[in-house]
């Protein structure tokens, strides 16, 4: 098993190794350096369940979190969202589109050396709050911004 995994890493995406790895159920070999995908959080259909899966029992509303997103998004397929956290020791930033079928869009773990800023583009089915949950020093902080969507992007 170990040998196989080494080959897999060495070839880093070679089609042959991929097939072998997949057959051996080693699809997660890539997680040698990446955190395992948080299945329960990403498959939650309610914001409360996402919050629970992230381990956030209580959320503290914070003005130290800035969400940069348009007030009105004409195309729900690409809504630019940037989150900046000024809370010291920010460990992770999660982006949630509350009315999406699966609300959790992305979760970013920030390591020492990384700045507590992420920017990306998400899909939004309809108008909803975009919520950021920031984990810092084991506590969870949150902020939200409403984005109006004129054409949904989850078709």
């Amino acid at each position: 098993m170990k040998q196989l995994r080494r080959n897999f890493l060495k070839l880093s995406g070679g089609a042959g190794a991929m097939a072998v790895a997949a057959a051996a159920g080693l699809l997660k070999a890539g997680s040698a350096w990446a955190a395992p995908w948080n299945k329960s959080a990403f498959e939650s259909k309610a914001v409360a369940d996402v919050q629970k899966s992230l381990g956030a029992a209580t959320l503290i509303e914070s003005k130290e979190i800035t969400i940069t997103a348009p007030d009105i998004a004409e195309n729900g397929a690409t809504v630019p969202v940037a989150v900046t956290s000024k809370i010291p020791n920010t460990q992770s930033i999660s982006i949630i589109a509350e009315n999406n079928p699966f609300p959790l869009a992305a979760s970013f773990d920030i390591m020492p050396g990384g700045d507590s800023y992420v920017s990306t583009r998400i899909k939004m089915g309809k108008t909803s709050d975009v919520r950021a949950i920031v984990k810092a020093d084991g506590k969870f902080y949150t902020a939200a911004k409403e984005v109006k969507v004129t054409v949904g992007g989850c078709g």
Partner: protein, 105 residues
């Protein structure tokens, strides 16, 4: 093999502003075509490394847009430092690209 990423890393003060554009269909698993539903196919994990040290470990869902954009900032960077980005999708496909930090304007 997946298409290469476009990565730009420019130094601003002591922070590298990294902009990444990946090429990926990011299928939600709900889109229908004449031949049926397009299966779920999306990037699950993105790791950004600065000189071999992980600075950002992201987990994504299918709600990230097609051909995803990611912007991050790396503290304590210098011109010539290596920034590498690796993504892995739910089919096990992956892609790594590397770029050197360039001086900002």
């Amino acid at each position: 093999m997946a298409d290469p990423m476009k990565i730009r890393a420019t130094l601003q003060g002591d922070t590298a502003d990294v902009r990444i554009l990946m090429r990926h269909p990011m299928e939600t698993g709900t889109r229908k075509t004449s031949s049926g539903v397009v299966p779920l196919h999306f990037i699950q994990s993105v790791v950004v490394q600065h000189n071999g040290k992980t600075v950002l470990d992201a987990q994504w869902s299918q709600a990230i847009s097609q051909n995803p954009f990611l912007g991050v900032r790396v503290k304590g960077a210098k011109v010539g430092d290596k920034i590498s980005v690796t993504w892995t999708d739910n089919k096990g496909d992956k892609r790594t690209d590397e770029v050197a930090v360039s001086a900002g304007s």
